[in-house]
């Protein structure tokens, strides 16, 4: 092992574009070296992060979901006892379609009906049957008669978890009898709401959102699910679909009226803060107004900033290095 004089960051590919901007800014503006940021995925990042304390282990991990309890326990078992959680903002998930497509308004209930593996029996009885819907029109007569084809993240991805949680769960709770299951049988409820159909209507595309955008362009009938920043960058090619009547826009996501967005985090190994050169300064740069603030450069990159009071508490927590319990 040789010495290390730069910050080592691992983790989520979703947070990667934001963390790198901060790192670059930090590297250019200070005397410290630019941190090294690996894109390993949230799970892989946390695994590396939790492997132990010491120079050979990363200082920070990015995550597109909150760290799980079991992971935190694993961390502690490896000696990583003090972890600081930093919530950096929100990532809007947009459902989009090619500009050449017809365009439609969706509700979460409709999305649930279109994509769930099992849906309430269309004849009205309170049973679940295998999803019979072939076209959007089948789901809701007001929607166009195009084949249901949605390109979205695979089950291994956090984007998918977020989508399931924010859209499918909500959508399925629109049915009272399913909602009622929650109390009786939590798992059955979960299975009913969170299982996505596997008959080809939902296409598990890879994690490359650019590819989904381009596939949408080539196939006007299909819908795609991907991060807001890609929608923002490709407005000439794809359009976001309004959900519950709200268009995915910077403002709507940031003020919370657009329903589908998830928080992004990073986690800091407190033991490293004093000894790895530049850690403190990097944290300061990240939580500065200039970066994370409403008009900060992260927002410019498509990160939806935290509401003011949340921002204040995060920034206070980071300055004090409050560890997770």
């Amino acid at each position: 092992q040789s010495s290390r004089d730069y910050i080592s960051i691992v983790g989520s590919s979703t947070v990667y574009p934001f963390a790198t901007v901060v790192a670059e800014q930090f590297g250019k503006a200070t005397k410290f070296k630019t941190p090294k940021i690996e894109s390993t995925g949230s799970g892989g990042g946390i695994k590396l992060f939790c492997a132990g304390v010491g120079v050979q282990h990363p200082d920070i991990t990015n995550a597109s979901r909150a760290i799980k309890k079991s992971e935190l326990e694993q961390c502690a078992a490896n000696g990583v006892k003090e972890v600081v959680e930093v919530k950096i903002g929100y990532d809007g998930l947009s459902i989009a379609q090619s500009k050449a497509g017809k365009g439609m308004q969706l509700t979460r209930k409709e999305v649930f009906l279109a994509l769930a593996k099992q849906v309430p029996n269309p004849n009205g009885t309170q049973t679940l049957v295998d999803n019979p819907y072939k076209t959007w029109k089948d789901v809701n007569a007001a929607l166009p008669a195009i084949k249901i084809e949605v390109l979205g993240p695979p089950p291994t991805s956090g984007t998918r978890d977020a989508f399931v949680e924010l859209v499918m769960d909500e959508g399925c709770d629109a049915f009272d009898f399913i909602k009622a299951m929650k109390k009786a049988d939590k798992n059955a409820h979960k299975a009913a709401c969170q299982t996505i159909r596997e008959d080809g209507a939902y296409v598990e595309a890879g994690e490359n959102d650019n590819l989904i955008v381009q596939k949408l362009e080539a196939n006007p009938a299909a819908l795609g699910i991907f991060g807001f920043s890609f929608l923002d960058q490709n407005r000439d090619k794809v359009r976001g679909l309004a959900i519950e009547g709200v268009q995915p826009e910077f403002e709507t996501i940031s003020n919370g009226s657009y329903p589908v967005s998830r928080p992004l985090f990073f986690y800091v190994k407190k033991a490293h803060v004093a000894v790895i050169p530049g850690m403190k300064e990097y944290l300061d740069e990240f939580i500065s107004k200039k970066a994370m603030g409403e008009e900060g450069y992260l927002a410019e990159r498509g990160l939806i900033p935290l509401p003011k009071d949340e921002y204040m508490s995060v920034s206070k927590g980071v300055t004090a290095l409050d560890v997770m319990k």
Partner: protein, 435 residues
């Protein structure tokens, strides 16, 4: 010959039969040759389609829109105490100087939002360019300088026609008022497409207009140097041993099967191996080209060994006999006669193996080379990425301007590949002969 046509029906001479069959065989021959030509053409056609699509998407990345701005370097803003101390100069707020100059150019712009958009016309890197300029020549302080700085990537995309000026306002990232400013800048000759030197001299950046390929290229070069200098000798040595010296028994069978099997191991598993063995056991530094080189060596080794063995197999035994028969040791026979004859095949294996190593991302993921690393690595121990990783990361970035840069990076990679192969191809030609 008493009964030449014994096997033939009465009256038919064998030549008549041959003649009768000729039309069919000639056709078969023509078909075969056509098929061959077709196969080569299909391969080449496919290659050219790929190349054309890459080049046509990527060539614009070699130019970059620059903007001329006039900045007043007021002493009180930069170095109020007049110490000319480097640290003071470094810490000064250059970006506000640039913002000021933008405001000076468009005094009519008001409102926070609009100002924000206005500042966005120049790249984030401009302030650092300015800083470097001032630090290099402090005498500039107190003057007004006119300098070319990179324009923002959106402006660049607009200038290159990747953003449609005529699209509805909602459909483009550049709004109408900004478009107006850009038009004005153009009219004042303040915008210009210039050769994008930064692309070749800088490391990675999250600002497309500042992003360069140098870091990844150096990383690739270091990695491949390690790979080549290990895998070629190792591969050839293993092949020579197995083919020429090893006793043929269960043990060598096992090695042979093993090697064939390693060729089928998904490349990411080699990454897992690198993580488990080289990092966790041997404590090699993560993200280092040395490590990448080692992992890619293990990955390419089967290719080189298999190709080399095939080449050695095809050297006729009479050559070995000839050498052995006058008292050459097996080692000498192999070294002087067999290896030179097998070298073309070995080089082919190396070319293909290295090409594969050059294009591989997955194993690097596990050993920390799929990363954002802004600094250009200086040696095999520095953290670095590699060209295919850079391509992969850029292809996954939201900013539109990375599309052309991705293709340009691919062009650089292919250029590197061509350069690397040139030597091997020339060598191979030299050693090729029929006997």
């Amino acid at each position: 010959m008493t009964n030449p046509g014994k096997a033939l029906p009465e009256g038919a001479t064998s030549f008549a039969r041959i003649q009768a069959g000729m039309a069919k065989r000639r056709a078969a021959e023509r078909r075969f040759k056509m098929l061959g030509r077709l196969a080569v053409s299909v391969g080449l056609l496919f290659l050219s389609v790929l190349l054309i699509s890459i080049v046509s998407k990527g060539y614009t990345a070699f130019w970059q829109t620059q903007m001329r701005i006039d900045v007043v370097l007021a002493a009180e803003d930069i170095d109020p105490e007049g110490t000319r101390n480097a640290e003071t100069l470094r810490k000064a707020d250059y970006s506000s100087l640039i913002k000021q100059s933008m405001r000076d150019m468009f005094p009519e712009v008001s409102g926070r939002r609009d100002k924000f958009a206005l500042y966005g016309l120049v790249s984030n890197g401009a302030a650092f360019d300015l800083r470097d300029k001032v630090m290099a020549d402090p005498s500039l302080i107190g003057t007004k300088v006119s300098l070319w700085v990179p324009a923002d990537d959106d402006v660049d995309m607009l200038m290159k026609g990747h953003i449609d000026r005529n699209a509805a306002e909602d459909d483009r990232r550049i709004k109408d008022n900004v478009l107006g400013w850009i038009n004005q800048l153009e009219a004042e000759d303040r915008l210009e497409l210039r050769f994008n030197i930064d692309f070749f001299t800088k490391g990675d950046s999250r600002d497309p207009e500042l992003a360069g390929i140098r870091g990844a290229l150096m990383g690739t070069i270091f990695t491949l140097i390690v790979t080549l200098s290990l895998s070629f000798p190792l591969g050839v040595a293993a092949a020579v041993y197995l083919e020429e010296f090893a006793p043929k028994n269960k043990w060598t069978d096992l090695i042979e099967v093993n090697i064939n099997n390693l060729a089928a191991v998904p490349s990411i598993v080699f990454g897992l191996l690198g993580l488990a063995v080289f990092i966790n056991v041997f404590g090699l530094p993560r993200s280092a080209p040395l490590l990448g080189g080692l992992v890619l060596t293990l990955m390419t080794l089967p290719t080189i060994i298999i190709a080399s063995r095939a080449a050695l197999k095809s050297v006729p035994p009479s050559i070995r006999d000839a050498a052995l028969g006058i008292g050459a040791s097996p080692m000498q026979a192999t070294l002087y006669h067999v290896i030179p004859l097998a070298l073309p095949g070995m080089l082919t294996g190396t070319i293909i193996g290295m090409a594969q190593a050059l294009g591989e991302t997955a194993p690097l993921l596990m050993i920390g080379m799929v990363a954002f690393i802004a600094d250009v690595p200086q040696g095999v121990f520095d953290p670095s990425t590699a060209l295919p990783v850079q391509i992969y990361l850029w292809a996954d970035s939201p900013e539109r301007a990375y599309v052309e840069r991705t293709s340009a990076a691919i062009m650089v990679l292919l250029g590197f590949l061509a350069l690397m192969n040139l030597v091997a191809v020339l060598l191979r030609k030299r050693f090729e002969r029929r006997w």
